[in-house]
Symmetry: C2
Subunit: 259 residues, 2 copies
């Protein structure tokens, strides 16, 4: 089981193309509507591209759907391939059932990472969360996933939904904190550049820790009320940021006291 069709041409499809190209797996085709991105992803994967359902290669070992979460179900339901085909989607927040039951081998293949066009990540370190309704297929699917990553984890849809939620906090919301930080330094006439060493070290420190709670610093964990009051004063013209400041400070203090 090694011949793969990548469906989609977004950030994740591109990352998969790069990862497959340097693995023991073989990309046989990229199937994507976008006439600009499709060929780019195909080139990275080292295979051909088509946007024509009639030209979709029906002989692949696995059809890997890497489209936006909302498009998974409609793409999966219109795939012009035989029921014996193995089909997986890559969306963290989408249940296995988004793939039609007519396929004998359905799977979720969720690589938890934030993907960006033009940016290469080390796929071998990315946890891949697997789920399938076909017990007999598990060993083969796991072997395939292990050709892309050293970290393969079986989860059901309920667990994976939580993993996806955790990723929203650790990635999307952390990035929003950087963005608010940028907004605040700009209001002092400085630019985002000054925050970069701090952002890099904060992430590195948490990743070296047993738990991020062990390395929590700042006024909230010390319950330094005067500093927090001054900070809220600085946010007087941004009530939404005041709200966020207070909620997160409360959370930090509450969880720190439990230790």
């Amino acid at each position: 089981m090694k011949r793969i069709v990548i469906i989609g041409s977004g950030n994740l499809a591109e990352a998969l193309a790069r990862a497959v190209a340097v693995s023991d797996l073989e990309a046989v085709q990229v199937f994507a509507r976008n006439p600009e991105r499709g060929p780019v992803v195909a080139r990275l994967a080292g295979c051909g591209w088509t946007s024509d359902p009639e030209r979709l290669d029906p002989t692949a070992d696995l059809y890997l759907i890497a489209v936006s979460d909302r498009a998974v179900a409609s793409v999966a339901s219109t795939l012009p391939i035989p029921a014996q085909a193995a089909v997986a989607h890559t969306a963290g927040s989408v249940p296995l059932e988004a793939i039609p039951e007519r396929f004998e081998r359905r799977a979720v293949f969720y690589p938890m990472q934030t993907f960006t066009k033009g940016r290469t990540v080390d796929f071998t370190r990315i946890p891949i969360f697997l789920e399938t309704s076909s017990a007999a297929w598990r060993p083969e699917l796991e072997a395939l996933a292990r050709k892309l990553s050293r970290k393969v984890i079986w989860t059901d849809s309920a667990q994976r939904a939580k993993v996806h939620l955790a990723a929203v906090f650790a990635c999307n919301f952390a990035n929003c904190m950087y963005a608010i930080g940028e907004e605040v330094v700009r209001s002092a006439g400085l630019d985002f550049e000054v925050l970069k060493p701090l952002i890099a070290e904060t992430a590195a420190k948490a990743c070296d820790a047993r738990s991020p709670r062990d390395v929590q610093t700042g006024p909230a964990v010390r319950n330094d009320a005067p500093t927090m009051e001054r900070h809220l004063g600085l946010l007087d013209n941004a009530p939404n940021l005041q709200e966020i400041y207070q909620q997160i400070s409360k959370e930090i203090w509450k969880t720190s006291r439990k230790q």
Copy 2:
């Protein structure tokens, strides 16, 4: 101007000791009450330690107060050193005026980074925010700071207060997002380890970007209401996290629309 007394023995004092030891500056003494930490920091700085105010070396070029924000004023006001001494504190959120006026040369010397015991950071990349009431002293103070870091920035107390607030978001609050992420993956029977590649890449990506807003991903920036609803459902037993989820999602969506 190169002979420095480091006052304090916490995380920042330790980082300063390490940085001074590998610079052209000379640590002449560590002055700290803590009989365990004081000698440790002194050893890193390559100098002696005292906790006895009567033994504090009165001949140093600069007394660098690296104690907790709340202790700065009381430590500064009780320093048994002559008024000709140059005194600086290192606290981002504390105004210059926390150092008594009797000192002719008062300064703030705020290295913006998150410091941890036992952890070496590259001090030369850390922005140091300087402020002094003595215009004549500026060139000398800046030259000293440049022996520790390539990034030296003059700010007044109002600007620095904003820089400190930005650091709370980009560091303390980002770390809290990691911690909430950990809590959520634990509730799925997984451990913090699975989030580490995502955390590292999120920070790296933001640092490579012009602005973190340019690389914002996730359901909020797509206004993917069904996914956000499912996420809120998963947080049913944690109303505080629901609140944080909603506030930050609102902020992400609001700022993304402005682009």
